[in-house]
């Protein structure tokens, strides 16, 4: 009784936890397909792919991606190189220096990103000035500064990944290569590097991802080369659109895809290794065939499902035309708006009647004055052609700000105060 209660509460807790973790991403992804101009899930309007095409037409986003790729490549090269050198040094440094050395190379992980960005900016600005170079020199270039700033701490991550594998390296292998006549560089290239390759690949992926999503350091160093993250931050801070959701959806999908791919690969290696233990070497070649790629490999199955889903979605996107739905929604909104206007008009009529009745009591002196101005205001609004044009804007624009400059005609209508002021 007690244990089953515990078990259930564990699962409930897990469910809540993962809902907190993954829910926001799912919701954000869904908003990318809603035709509402503000990223939201409800009310659901229409399934649309327009935000994707909008995204791909956004020059700033595309430029940001380009800069991110350039900076990412630079950071990967520099931080993997420094991380490897740092790891090699760690395994052979004088024991008395080791603790200090380790503290120094691990510290960048703990230093706040903004501090790294600022110190990089300040330091290289100073070097630049000391060398008497101008403001447009290489040393004050945004790409250079960002690569340097990011590598400062990303190299620490790489070092940690690499040193884990390096600890399993048998130094006798290098010695054997030297003994057989290889130079140190040859031994490094032909023996150590191939051994480190898996760790180097992991470190490179890690470095690229860290560089790609870095904001805190980059925001001080990017200069004239804003990365995708910087562009996104600008957009998110000064007005959000579902185009960002569309980008997020793409990133989420890619991440899930690669995570599954990696998992499937690992699982496959495990299966092969397990099979290897059972089967002799000769049998192996025949035994491991493609179908067994899936056998007992959950991730591989998910991967296939995922691929099918992607193809379906892309297929739908090319064939699907949401125009009808959008038109329907527009019509719906139009009707709603008209209804509201009708209601307002009714209210207004009633008030006027009431007022007229009051005024009738007070006398007829001021009676005719307010009427014409009121009529002209309404006249514009109700003219069918004006209405259509304005509704178009209303559907696309956010409903947060219904009283935008375009809607000045409406503004007056919706605001009961102004009605009263009119009189």
């Amino acid at each position: 009784m007690n244990t089953s209660f515990l078990r259930i509460s564990i699962w409930v807790y897990l469910a809540i936890f993962f809902a907190y973790l993954l829910g926001p991403l799912v919701i954000m992804s869904i908003t990318a397909f809603n035709s509402s101009g503000f990223p939201r899930m409800s009310p659901w309007e229409c399934l649309t792919f327009q935000w994707f095409s909008e995204l791909f037409q956004d020059q700033r986003i595309l430029n940001g991606i380009k800069n991110s790729l350039i900076i990412g490549a630079g950071t990967v090269v520099l931080s993997v190189a420094m991380g490897l050198a740092g790891a090699l040094m760690l395994t052979q440094i004088w024991p008395k220096l080791r603790a200090t050395y380790y503290t120094i190379i691990i510290a960048p992980i703990l230093i706040p990103g903004v501090v790294l960005g600022i110190s990089t900016l300040v330091f290289w600005d100073r070097i630049n000035r000391m060398l008497g170079l101008g403001a447009d020199s290489f040393l004050s270039n945004g790409v250079f500064l960002t690569v340097i700033g990011q590598s400062t701490f990303i190299a620490s991550y790489c070092m940690l990944v690499l040193v884990a594998r390096l600890q399993r390296y048998d130094i006798a292998l290098t010695e054997a290569a030297l003994d057989l006549g290889a130079t140190h560089a040859q031994a490094f290239r032909k023996i150590l590097l191939p051994f480190m390759r898996p760790a180097i690949a992991s470190a490179a992926v890690l470095a690229f991802l860290a560089s790609f999503e870095n904001y805190n350091t980059t925001t001080f160093t990017f200069g004239e080369y804003p990365t995708l993250t910087i562009e996104l931050a600008q957009k998110v801070r000064y007005g959000i659109t579902p185009a960002i959701s569309a980008l997020a959806f793409i990133i989420v999908a890619l991440t899930v895809f690669f995570a599954l791919l990696n998992e499937a690969k690992l699982k496959r290696q495990e299966l092969v290794a397990a099979a290897r233990k059972k089967a002799t070497v000769e049998e192996l070649a025949g035994k491991i065939k493609l179908p067994s790629f899936f056998a007992g490999n959950m991730a591989a199955v998910l991967l296939v499902v995922f691929a099918v889903a992607t193809i379906t979605v892309v297929g739908t996107a090319t064939a699907y035309n949401p125009a009808q739905c959008i038109a329907n929604v527009k019509e719906q909104k139009q009707l709603e708006a008209e209804q509201r206007i009708q209601e307002l008009r009714k209210q207004r009529e009633e008030r006027r009647k009431q007022r007229e009745a009051e005024e009738a009591e007070q006398g007829d002196a001021q009676q005719s004055a307010p009427k014409p101005s009121n009529n002209s205001g309404f006249g514009n609004v109700f003219a069918p052609n004006t209405l259509g044009g304005e509704e178009d804007e209303g559907a696309a624009d956010t409903e947060e700000q219904p009283s935008g400059s375009n809607n000045s005609g409406f503004g007056g209508v919706f605001d009961p105060n102004s009605l009263q002021n009119d009189q």
């Binding site: 992980i109 900016l121 100073r126 960002i244 990133i251």
Partner: protein
């Protein structure tokens, strides 16, 4: 030392040895130590236009640090209440976020660390995936949820709990949720690594001796997981206190994060020395916090960053 260097070059060869040594020196001295020292030096200098730098006015001063405490000279208040409040609020909020994360992550880390089976790998992937998504996008996702017409408000209003939309952003709830959300993985992983290596028999033994579940955790699991806990807490505190994106996107208009002050000094006020001084204050605070954590939990540097 020369003996060490000689051995180093013997082992790696002259060319490779120089390459390794060069890269390590460039990284440790050129990228880590000198920039920090340079920033420290910079923070003690007045804000001068470029031509006057190095001139007679370029002297060391405590002005930038005084500014944080006393505010502008001749200001109406005797203390820089605004900036100091932001500073302490940031620290307290970062501590709260850390504790919040610790509480929600401990059960997960314990569960993942102590249960066997292939579903653990799927959980691990589900944990890692959000961490691979851009920081900005994660904040953006939460903004969609916590927005005035966001999912939560729609839900609560639909259920009739609220009559009018609740402003999660102005009340900083979105910010704290966002900071907690951003660094969950960094809290779970160090704890998970340690708890995974805890021999399940110890827990069995404790249970066998009749210990209630909370006592098992208090006396067996938590003491064992201490290095992981302190490592996770350190990382989360550092990253929360140093966060910039989440406060910018999820923070209310009136509440600032200390990093935002630094950002303003650099980008809006164009007062680099002042910004550097603030950055130094943040850095020193963080270092003190790490040292305090290490002292408190009696762990060493080697345990951090696993």
């Amino acid at each position: 030392m020369p003996g060490f260097l000689k051995e180093f070059f013997n082992r790696n060869g002259t060319g490779m040895g120089l390459a390794i040594l060069g890269l390590v020196l460039f990284w440790t001295i050129g990228l880590i130590i000198l920039p920090q020292l340079s920033m420290l030096d910079f923070s003690f200098r007045p804000n001068l236009p470029p031509p006057e730098i190095g001139g007679p006015k370029d002297v060391y001063t405590l002005e930038n640090y005084k500014y944080l405490i006393y505010g502008p000279e001749g200001g109406s208040q005797s203390y820089n209440a605004v900036d100091l409040r932001v500073f302490f609020r940031t620290l307290i909020a970062a501590v709260c976020v850390t504790i919040f994360n610790l509480i929600i992550c401990y059960p997960i880390a314990y569960y993942l660390g102590q249960s066997k089976g292939s579903h653990i790998r799927i959980f691990a992937i589900m944990l890692i995936i959000p961490y691979w998504i851009n920081e900005i996008l994660r904040a953006f996702a939460l903004r969609i949820i916590f927005g005035e017409t966001g999912v939560l408000n729609t839900l609560f209003m639909g259920l009739g709990i609220f009559d009018t939309p609740f402003d999660f952003i102005r009340n900083d709830i979105a910010l704290y949720a966002g900071l907690g959300y951003a660094y969950i993985l960094l809290m779970i992983f160090p704890m998970y690594n340690v708890i995974e290596s805890l021999d399940g028999n110890q827990i069995e033994a404790a249970r066998d001796l009749g210990a209630p579940w909370w006592r098992i955790h208090w006396r067996v699991v938590i003491p064992y997981a201490k290095p992981g806990i302190s490592s996770g807490c350190t990382m989360v505190f550092m990253l929360s206190a140093g966060a910039l994106a989440a406060p910018q996107i999820l923070g209310g208009p009136s509440s600032l994060w200390f990093t935002q002050l630094i950002y303003q000094q650099f980008n809006d006020n164009n007062d680099w020395p002042q910004g550097a001084a603030y950055a130094i204050v943040l850095l020193v605070t963080c270092i003190l916090f790490v040292l305090a954590m290490m002292r408190l939990f009696k762990v060493n540097m080697g345990d951090i960053g696993k």
